[in-house]
């Protein structure tokens, strides 16, 4: 048992060369930053969702509302029909409107969990851990929030390239980011452990 503990401690040193639990470092390292990494008024994504043999496509709009400091996420069809409008405000999600298919509580929870990875207000997080891996000098931000674990990998200036959300061993979501020359998230691809649910998003338009 002692040998196992020692191995775990040593391996953690091997994989990380810095380590901190000081909340002040969050301000210092990711000051005024969000996971999406850019300032925007709205961002429009072409989105495709595949679940088992089913395939869906449409548009997703991220829209900031200065009035109440909220961010709306609107799912719509290519024809313009609004399917779902949810709002992230005060670290909570709420449904603004949902067409029948999208009003299923389990589906909504999956959507809330997925979009929390992108929109999580970092100022609401009390304890964070930073580390830097030797490999490719990747920085890691890790914290727990609402009993879930969030991990963000980034190289510089908090431009996240990979994110991971974990509720438990079975419920894990990974997001891969590809950024364009302006640092905007050009593509965001979600995969869900144990579920053949894949969500791919491609940036169409960003308004500042």
């Amino acid at each position: 048992m002692r040998f196992l503990t020692l191995c775990l401690i040593l391996s953690s040193f091997f994989f990380s060369d810095t380590f901190a639990t000081n909340p002040a470092r969050l301000d210092e390292k990711v000051e005024m930053k969000t996971v999406l990494g850019v300032a925007y008024n709205s961002m429009l994504y072409k989105t495709s969702i595949s679940f088992r043999e089913y395939a869906f496509s449409g548009l997703v709009l991220f829209k900031k509302q200065e009035m109440d400091s909220s961010t709306h996420i609107v799912f719509m069809s290519e024809f313009g029909m609004t399917m779902l409008d949810i709002k992230y405000k005060n670290d909570q999600f709420e449904v603004v409107s949902a067409k029948e298919f999208f009003s299923h509580p389990k589906l909504l929870q999956v959507i809330f969990d997925d979009f929390r990875i992108l929109l999580q207000d970092l100022n609401k997080i009390e304890k964070v851990r930073f580390s830097t891996t030797c490999k490719e000098k990747t920085n890691k931000l890790k914290f727990r929030h609402f009993s879930d674990t969030f991990i963000y990998l980034y190289q510089s200036d908090f431009l996240v390239k990979q994110a991971k959300w974990r509720k438990n061993m079975l419920r894990v979501v990974k997001v891969q980011f590809e950024r364009n020359a302006a640092g905007q998230p050009q593509t965001m691809n979600f995969t869900h452990r144990g579920v053949s649910l894949v969500v791919n998003m491609e940036l169409l338009n960003l308004k500042e």
């Binding site: 429009l44 395939a55 709009l61 609004t82």
Partner: protein
């Protein structure tokens, strides 16, 4: 005073909503139906560009998409978005095809009631003959150049998606110039048809989605 003002405001809104500015009510809707039917009988094909503006007034956001569509009698249609994304819907020989990000998916219209409904709706909008569709309650208005049809779904399920469809039809050729699909007072989509060409020759291969 406040009550009087509120009543006046509501009455004005009701009037504005019930009868669009500059349009008068068409009293003889049977004659209008016949007129549109007569235009429809002469219609062989349509080629047109379209501009789609999705307006979410409550979010102060308008999303503009542009594309082109082709229709050929009886039931061939290609509806193609070019900006800001590429997406094609094709209807040919009872098949409904969608091309998205280079991949083509084909659905048999007859075996899928949802696609049959969508198929019929798209074709009716393109041809401007939603007036004959008894799934909608219709009110007709006109000005000098245009018929304006206010279509309200009768079916409760359909109402959950669309509160009202406004269809603007050219009096000259009987074909739609603009469609407004209203999901609510603050959430609606306007599709305007521009550069319309009627009865030009269109090759059948246009409707093959590859």
């Amino acid at each position: 005073m406040k009550i009087v003002f509120t009543m006046f405001f509501l009455a004005f809104n009701w009037l504005a909503f019930s009868q669009p500015t500059g349009f008068t009510k068409v009293e003889n809707s049977a004659a209008l139906e016949k007129e549109i039917e007569a235009h429809s009988a002469k219609l062989i094909s349509i080629t047109s560009d379209f501009i789609q503006e999705k307006t979410m007034a409550y979010l102060d956001e308008v999303i503009v998409s542009k594309g082109k569509f082709w229709y050929k009698r009886d039931n061939n249609l290609r509806w193609q978005y070019n900006e800001p994304f590429e997406y094609v819907i094709g209807i040919k020989n009872g098949q409904f095809s969608i091309k998205d990000q280079g991949k083509v998916r084909v659905f048999d219209v007859s075996s899928n009631p949802a696609f049959k409904e969508l198929n019929d709706l798209i074709l009716s909008i393109a041809k401007g003959n939603l007036i004959q569709d008894n799934r909608f309650a219709m009110e007709a208005f006109e000005d000098k150049t245009t018929y304006f049809l206010k279509l309200t779904p009768k079916d409760a399920n359909m109402k959950k998606f669309i509160q009202q469809t406004d269809l603007y039809i050219s009096k000259q050729d009987g074909v739609a110039t603009k469609v407004i699909m209203r999901e609510s007072d603050t959430d609606y989509t306007i599709i305007s048809f521009v550069n319309r060409h009627l009865n030009d020759a269109i090759s059948d291969t246009v409707f093959d989605i590859k």
